[in-house]
Structures are given as C-alpha cells and as structure tokens.
Subunit: 271 residues, 2 copies
DNA sequence: CTCTTTTCCGTCAAATTGACGGCAATTGGA
DNA sequence: TCCAATTGCCGTCAATTTGACGGAAAAGAG
C-alpha cells in the first residue's frame, strides 16, 4: 500500500512554486468513495491547469498533491509515493519524459501523460518509456477520471495474488446452438461457417449471446461494447445490429436469431 | 407532445442580458410530481444560441435557465444550482473556463462545455479540463441531449451508490398459478402457452401479478407502467387492461384472471 | 325498475420506434 | 501518402404501439 496519504500536509516548509499543495476532501466522499481515498500527484508547470485539475479530482473523491516543477516532484514522488501520477509532457526544466525516466529507475508508479494535440511523436515515446496511459488535451473530466480509475483498478489487481483475480481466466468460448463465439480468438461461426465480425460487433453479439433470450437494452449493449468514457448515440446500436444481421444473413439467409423487442432492446434467441 | 414545440416564451430580446429566464413546461406539477423535472442552466453570450438551445431542450422535457453573462451565471448557479450546466467556452468578460474554475471551487455540478471547431486548439481548449464533457460546435441536438442524459444518469448513480452494480442481478421470473412472467426476457405464458405483450402491457400485468388478489388502483398501475414524468388519462389503463384480456383470451377463451373492482381498480386473481 | 356511474370494447390517428442505405470521419496499414 | 476497413450518425420509410373517443354494457343506488 502506498503510504497512506498524510496529505492534509500542512507542509509548512515550502516555497510557493515548487511545494506540494495538498488537497484532501474534508467533506469526505460524496462520491463513490472506494475503500481508501487515493492520492494523485499532479505535475505541470501551468498553475491554472494544476488548480483546475486539483479541484476537479478532489471533487471526484481523490486526494491530490501538486508540483509545478519536475525536480521537486521527482524527489517528493520517491519519498512519499502517491497512488498515481499525472505529468505534463512538456515542462520547462525537467519535462515529463525525463521525469518518468528518472522515476522508472526505481518505481513502478502508474503514470498518465498529458500531451497536446500536436505533440504526437511524444505519445509513442512516452508509452514506450513506461507511461501507463496518455491523454491529449483537450479532454473532459469524464475521460480523465475514467482512465484514472481504470489504471488504478489495474494496478490494484496486479498487486493482489493473481489467482483469484475475477475475470482473469481465458474467456471461455461461448456456444449457443448454431452460434459459436470464441472471445480469445475473436472467432465466430454459425452452423460451423465462419462469420467475420469487427470488434464492436463482436462485443455486442457476445453481450447478447452470454444470456440467450434475455433482453438487453441499448444502454446495456453500449456498456458492453464501449468504455466508460465514450458515449454514442442510441441509434448507433441499431446500426451494429443491422450489420450483424447482414453478416449472418450472408451465411444463412434464414438467420433470425437476433430479436427486436420493440421499445426495450434486443436479444439473442434461445435455441 | 406537439404542443411543446411552440414558443410561448417570448424572444429574450429583453433588457438585462443577464437575467435568468426560467422556462418550465406549462404542465408543471399540480400533483406530487415525483421525479422533479431536471433543470439545465445555459450560459452563452450569443442570444441566438441561448434561445435555440433553450427551446430545444425545453421540448426535450428539460427545464432551462439561461444566462448571457458569466458573472451573473456564477452567482445564480451557486445560489440555486441546476442539475447540469452548459457553458460556452468563449465569452466576453468571464469565459467558460474561468466560470468553471470558480464554480469548481465549491461545487461538483456537472458541466458540459461548448467549444468551436476553430478555436485555438491548444491554448484555451487545453484548459477545457474539469468539464464533464465538451461538445464542439456545430453539434446535433440529438447528440447534445444524449450526452446530457448520459451525464445526468451518471451523476445520479454517483449520488446513490449503495448497492453493487445496478443491472447485476436478473429480475426473478414470477409464477402465479397458470401465469408465468419473466421480466428479463419479457416473456409471458399462460398454461405454458406464450402470450406476446408490449412493454406497457407487461408492466401493468406484472404490477398486478406481483400481488395476486390485491386491488391496484389505476394510479398505482400508472406508476408501475410509466416513468414519473408522464401522465396519461385514467381510461388509458382501461384500454391496456382491455388489450391484456383480449390477448389472454386468444390463448384461453375462458381466461378471467383479471378482475375488475368497480370504482376501485383491477386485480390479478389468486390461484 | 329507473337512473347514474363506471367499465368495456372497437376504432383510429398520432407518436414512437426500428430498419437500413448512405455518408463522412477516423484509423491502420501498405 | 493513399487505400481500405471500421464506425458513428443521419434521414427516410415502415412497423408497432398507444392514448383517446364514443357508444354500448354492466354495476350500484334508491
């Protein structure tokens, strides 16, 4: 466990610019408060971003510590590691890449990079160097929080004994009558004949096939096919269903296993 | 719903650019009004957009309040927070970013940013974080509404996270004598013979079948079948009962399990 | 038995919802 | 850079659902 945030650090020994300014929700969590409050370190030379982000994340139930300077940040991160760190790639003296490199020399702390739209070459670089994710500005809070949570979840799973990890086993192939789905191989057949699906199509079909006969609303199918940070139109699901039906019909003109429940959603027919 | 589309609201060509113009569907709540209508605050210096959006959202069933000025908006938002706010990023005196920042200092109100396609992608937009989502103009009403609903849904889930994932457990099938109802599959049988019901019919029947023998008033049945913000005529329930009986009679001419209690309501017969 | 209130049922037009071709934007490679 | 695949969304048309009536029938009241 990372050091329990002593975050309310009234760390008096500091100069304005480089100090860690701790923010810790006093009002506790009015949000999905997980087990323990998690601490996020923010490193960026732009004070505006620092403040805004800090406030926002704080409101999302995280404790935050901010640093405006890479060197100071490095030292603090080593001495008292947070649960996750967010770096701006581009910073004056020691930029995000250097900072990450130095940090990685001794720590496996999860890191998210902030990059600008036009700094693409660095993205690959950052990932190659061991950042866990990166986000290009502009981004919405929703996106950021979704990624933070995803990464934290991942890194916590990694800490736990690998045996009892919930969905860790290889996904079992699903066989439902004439349909067969193999998630691991991303392979689909109908009556033994292969059907080639795109990823999105596959996910939607899988969600339905896992519970044959059960009606899935469009929202449920969206949840199955998309990550938390994207929201697409309801009708988009229609489109995917349309494509699914078309592809299956190409193999079996009689195909009718995807049922529509007017006003409710879709279901994969029992069989 | 046609009546909604009209524009009773005078053009806000009015005076004080910053006054909050309340719009709330005439229907209002003369009744307990369960799920309060959700209110959206719009902040934009362009009166055209303000009016258009307001009318559109209003037609979608939201109440709206509009502000043409960041400072006034801030004050109003703090004093009387809506359920969600939509800011234009670029505004004369206090722009969306400042507004958000000030707001975030004390509130976790869900915010959607409106940005222009051609605004400096880096400078201002880079700061656009902290909003829950942002949409670049031009955008379709459908998209906007979809996002609004998504965010509202999300923030409401966050408010009440008592249990585990909502859609985790499947609703249990209900069996009452010769009747069998499976909510998950939207499947109904009578003596094993399938009966095909529409969603509304299903909900009404389910409400009665859950408490066999107990008389349900029309209002109770309405509550079961409609979301809190829809009101329909009492007689409409009669119609649905009529259709239910007809569909069951088609399968069993002797069917008589739906009883009428003169002056009180309907009940599903014990058995 | 007569009158009043409530319910039933057929009919219908309007609103909602679904299907699907097309298109434009994005992605990922050759 | 150009090409092909994927994907999200729009717009149109078709199908389904459904709220509302009006008159007939049934149930209560006196």
């Amino acid at each position: 466990m990372a050091g329990m945030a002593d975050t309310p650090n009234a760390d008096p020994s500091n100069t304005a610019a480089d100090s860690a300014i701790g923010l810790s929700p006093a009002s506790a969590c009015d949000t999905p408060c997980p087990a323990r409050q998690q601490t996020i370190a923010l490193v960026d030379d732009d004070r505006n971003i620092l403040t805004t982000l800090s406030i926002s994340l704080h409101a999302e139930g995280f404790a935050t510590r901010v640093y405006a300077d890479g060197e100071t940040a490095l030292k603090a991160l080593q001495e008292n590691p947070p649960d996750l760190a967010i770096f701006d790639v581009k910073m004056p003296r020691m930029d995000g890449l250097e900072l990450l490199k130095a940090l990685r020399a001794q720590s496996r702390l999860p890191v998210i990079f902030l990059t600008s739209k036009d700094e693409e070459p660095d993205e690959a670089l950052g990932l190659a160097m061991g950042a866990d994710d990166y986000i290009t500005k502009p981004f919405s809070l929703r996106l950021l929080v979704a990624r933070i949570r995803a990464i934290l979840r991942r890194s916590e799973l990694a800490k736990a004994p690998p045996e009892e990890v919930p969905g860790a086993e290889l996904p079992e192939p699903v066989v439902r009558g004439r349909l067969s789905l193999d998630p691991a191989r991303h392979q689909v057949t109908w009556d033994g004949k292969p059907v080639s699906l795109t990823v999105t199509e596959f996910l939607i079909l899988e969600a339905m096939a896992l519970r044959p006969g059960v009606v899935k609303s469009r929202n449920q199918l969206m949840d199955a096919a998309y990550s938390d940070d994207v929201y697409v139109d309801d009708r988009t699901i229609d489109s995917h269903i349309k494509r699914l039906r078309r592809k299956f019909r190409a193999v079996d003109p009689e195909f009718g296993a995807i049922d529509t429940l007017y006003g409710a959603g879709y279901s994969f027919a029992d069989g």
